[in-house]
């Protein structure tokens, strides 16, 4: 799997910090050190597992001895999935330096043999016993066929065949679920590093001592303890959805579900129109055995059709009224049936048995009725719709469900906003409950992912639509990057890179010594002592090179001959050779940026304007726009949009983090430019972006460029607009009014002042 720059930035920061700490760690007593601690804070869908996997591979490359990693996940179900992904699946490529095993399969020879790193995958469920001897014995003692030393002790001493203690790293996905007992058990293993991943910075009490030491003795604060992934990077990358749409229903369940199903059909059609074969799925969250509005349990002795349990009623409404095929519906909760009145044969019930999860996943169900507590850890990127039943709609539960539907199918945004949206249908008793939920969701989104837009369905009685369809069919040429001219300079840089395969000097690390505990003396009176080790585990030149490029502009790798034998050289992370390779990688990225060009191609599936999401409480109507109304305009944008409307040209608002994007070739963080407006004339399509004063200096350089046409068709042209009177040297006349239109004239920046919005709109549309 290819890492995105923000993911590499996070994993590198974790590895750098870990290495730096381990060079001079805090001590507890004797040979015990205070473990390095880091919390990876990232929203659902940002690729936490990927970042963690890359972090441990990078840490490995900086350690003197091959480490042992205990990789913990929460659920028993998820742990097998994690194991499959790390050992042979999608993350295996990232963990090339490790052997991956289930914890139970760890044998003394695996620990003694330090030829490669060792990842042991386990679930914390199995550690959660106060008394180790009475717990699940398989975990705390190795099996009969292995040596009689317990696995626990094995991991605690973790000596390789040379008597060196191997570094031990505990990685915990969903770190906020660690209990105190679990934490204490982990700390008993004397780990060298603890790396947790969670969106919340909730720390188990047992860890407080460790963190306090880091805070007090090293002066660490949240900045040092947490590696945070910016949610804006995650949203822009397409890994998560862009919009959340909430609707509150003070109506019977049937009405809310009817509306959800009809919106799902629209989403399915949109997916089919785009040629996407995934079909959006819906989840239904409800109580299990309680009837609506009652605290009494549903009567199991009644026949199926008389049962009042919510999952049954939802299932019957889907099947009997909405004619959904029962084969498409799964009910995943602990629903009880009396043997005399079993469920119909077509009722797919998963009541939580061990093999249920695999069966459930294999079933590919489109409608999933479940009870949150049963399936934590399950999420499916094709889930775009969620119905939340009354009594489940506490703010807390709603925010939990959001995590479940946030992942974006196919990890990319589509032109149709309906496919980039998480849709919620929340049934409540009172409007106030919905308001409270809304406030909470708003707060959570603002804190965790401010780049995800939130909109509300106003009319929730059957006619409400959160989207405005396009009223006219319009397209824009796709913009792409052409690196034809970058190939030769990149080849020159790569060809000049030194072959370190036979070098024994420059591939050796410098500085960054890490001490390891080693048995000194003969077996009888061996004594543990700290020994300084200068070298770190070796990695290929290729890995260093690719990593360095991916951190800046991943696509530049695709122009390099990284299969050359010289990239097979094995070297240490802190060697001169590695430095030289990283320097060459930087040059490659510079050459890529400097010599590539943005081009437009009408044959490359032009982008067709699709529907836009609107917040129905704040819409402005327009006459000549492709959509009837827009809602997300600020004052400046609205003035300009009204002026555009009066030019009588066909135009549209390109939604924020928009649907249509132009790739950017620069060192900035954003890789795509989403202009605010698109306007069509006979021979041109104008991409117009309104700019705040503080952005124009940077953006005039980054976003105003000529886009070379490579096929016949209307030409895409970029214009920027600022408020007030500006000169091309970026000086603004104090107190000036009107607008300035920025364009390129004969390759030079040109600033034209217009006294009002109408003139500015016309100036934007002047034929270049």
């Amino acid at each position: 799997m290819e890492l995105m720059p923000f993911q590499i930035a996070a994993s590198t920061q974790i590895a750098d910090r870990c290495q730096q700490y381990l060079q001079d760690p805090l001590r507890v007593r004797g040979n015990t050190i205070v473990p390095f601690y880091q919390n990876l804070s990232a929203i659902t869908g940002s690729g936490k597992t990927l970042i963690l996997a890359d972090a441990i591979e990078q840490i490995r490359s900086r350690l003197p001895i091959e480490p042992i990693v205990l990789w913990l996940s929460k659920g028993r179900v998820v742990v097998w999935q994690t194991f499959a992904n790390l050992s042979t699946g999608k993350y295996a490529e990232l963990l090339g330096g490790y052997t991956v095993k289930p914890l139970l399969d760890c044998k003394p020879t695996d620990v003694e043999n330090a030829d490669s790193g060792l990842v042991l995958v386990a679930t914390v469920g199995k550690f959660n016993q106060r008394d180790k001897s009475e717990g699940d014995r398989r975990i705390f003692q190795v099996g009969l066929d292995v040596a009689d030393q317990s696995l626990w002790d094995l991991l605690k001493s973790r000596k390789d065949s040379k008597g060196r203690r191997r570094p031990f790293i505990v990685v915990y996905d969903e770190g906020h679920n660690l209990s105190n007992q679990q934490t204490n058990l982990l700390l008993e293993l004397e780990p060298d590093a603890l790396i947790a991943a969670s969106a919340t910075m909730k720390i188990p009490e047992a860890l407080a001592k460790t963190i306090d030491r880091l805070k007090q003795d090293l002066g660490w604060g949240d900045n040092e303890l947490v590696t945070a992934v910016h949610s804006s990077d995650v949203v822009k990358s397409g890994l998560v959805k862009k919009h959340i749409m909430l609707g509150g229903y003070v109506t019977p369940m049937e009405i809310a579900i009817n509306e959800m199903i009809s919106e799902m059909e629209r989403a399915q059609k949109a997916a089919a129109r785009q040629g996407l074969r995934f079909s959006p799925k819906g989840i239904y969250v409800s109580n299990t055995n309680m009837p609506d509005g009652s605290t009494l349990k549903d009567d199991l002795a009644r026949p199926f059709k008389q049962r009042m349990a919510r999952p049954i009623l939802i299932w019957r409404h889907l099947v009997e009224t909405l004619k959904v095929a029962p084969t498409e519906i799964a009910v995943y909760c602990d629903l009880k049936f009396d043997p005399k009145h079993p469920a119909p044969a077509a009722f797919n019930l998963f009541a939580g048995g061990d093999s249920d999860y695999d069966r459930f996943v294999a079933g590919g169900y489109k409608h999933i009725i479940f009870n949150l507590s049963l399936q934590e850890g399950w999420d499916d990127s094709e889930c775009c719709f969620a119905y939340i039943d009354k009594d489940m709609g506490s703010p807390d539960q709603v925010t939990q469900v959001i995590g479940r539907v946030l992942r974006q199918p196919g990890a990319q945004h589509y032109p149709a906003p309906i496919l980039n949206t998480a849709h919620f249908y929340i049934r409540t008793d009172e409007k106030d409950v919905f308001k409270a939920i809304l406030e909470d969701v708003k707060k959570k989104i603002a804190a965790d992912a401010p780049d995800i837009t939130l909109s509300i369905r106003r009319d929730t009685h059957g006619t409400g639509r959160g989207f405005r369809p396009p009223l006219k069919k319009k397209t824009v040429a796709t913009a792409a990057i052409d690196s034809t001219d970058a190939k030769a300079p990149i080849k020159e840089i790569v060809d000049k890179m030194i072959d370190y395969r036979k070098d024994s000097v420059n591939v050796v690390g410098k500085g960054g010594r890490i001490k390891v505990l080693q048995d000194i003396g003969s077996a009888k009176d061996a004594k543990e002592e700290w020994v300084e080790v200068e070298h770190s585990n070796r990695v290929t030149a290729r890995w260093v090179f690719v990593r360095a490029i991916q951190k800046r502009h991943p696509k530049a790798v695709r122009l390099c001959d990284i299969e050359y034998p010289k990239f097979d050289a094995m070297l240490e992370y802190h060697s001169i050779a590695a430095d030289n390779i990283r320097e060459a990688a930087d040059k490659v990225v510079d050459a890529y940026i400097n010599h590539s060009a943005i081009v437009q191609n009408v044959l490359d599936h032009p982008y067709e304007i699709d529907s836009v999401p609107v917040d129905e409480t704040k819409v402005t109507k327009f006459t000549n726009a492709i959509h009837a109304e827009y809602s997300d305009l600020n004052k400046f944008e609205r003035e300009f949009a009204e002026a555009l409307d009066k030019t009588r040209k066909i135009w549209c608002r390109n939604p924020q983090q928009g649907a249509f994007g132009i790739p950017l070739l620069d060192k900035g963080n954003t890789r795509t430019f989403n202009p605010d407006f698109l306007v069509w004339t006979r021979d041109h399509v104008y991409a117009i972006d309104t700019k705040g004063d503080h952005l124009i200096v940077e953006d005039a350089g980054r976003k105003l460029f000529h886009i070379k046409k490579i096929e016949d068709g209307p030409e895409l042209v970029i214009r920027l607009v600022t408020q007030g009177k500006w000169n091309a040297d970026f000086t603004k006349t104090n107190g000036s009014s009107g607008y300035t239109v920025w364009s390129l004239k004969q390759g030079k920046l040109h600033a034209e002042h217009c006294t009002d919005a109408a003139k500015a709109a016309n100036a934007c549309l002047r034929t270049p």
Partner: protein, 122 residues
């Protein structure tokens, strides 16, 4: 590796990120296509830019035009999955796989720890 061997590797070892239980690709064996070699169950096309007997080609404006034409003829919509030596033309409608690196990864070699070439080779 010969072209047909490479097609075999791509068809049998390709798996998609995040999609479990996905069957292998369906081979497209139609000599009228220069680059199209397979489809997945979602109807997305797989292309290898390897014209005739020469070396593996690159994805540039010229070869991409052929991909677009073949995609249109075969009724395939983006994203196009394209295997080639270099991705000179970079469109968001393309999922790119670099030859030979991606092929070696399909075959189980790791970027961080494995040599891609025989040790004796210079």
């Amino acid at each position: 590796m010969r072209r047909d061997e490479l097609i075999d590797v791509v068809i049998t070892s390709h798996w998609e990120n995040g999609r479990r239980n996905t069957p292998n690709l369906i081979r497209v064996d139609d000599p009228t296509y220069s680059y199209l070699v397979g489809k997945n169950e979602r109807g997305e096309g797989y292309f290898i830019i390897w014209p005739g007997d020469g070396p593996v080609g690159q994805l540039d404006a010229k070869t991409y035009k052929v991909v677009l034409e073949e995609g249109k003829k075969a009724g395939i919509k983006p994203p196009y999955h394209i295997y080639a030596r270099y991705e000179v033309y970079q469109s968001n409608n393309v999922c790119f796989y670099k030859i030979p690196d991606k092929i070696l990864a399909h075959l189980g070699l790791s970027e961080s720890n494995d040599r891609y070439n025989e040790a004796t080779e210079e």
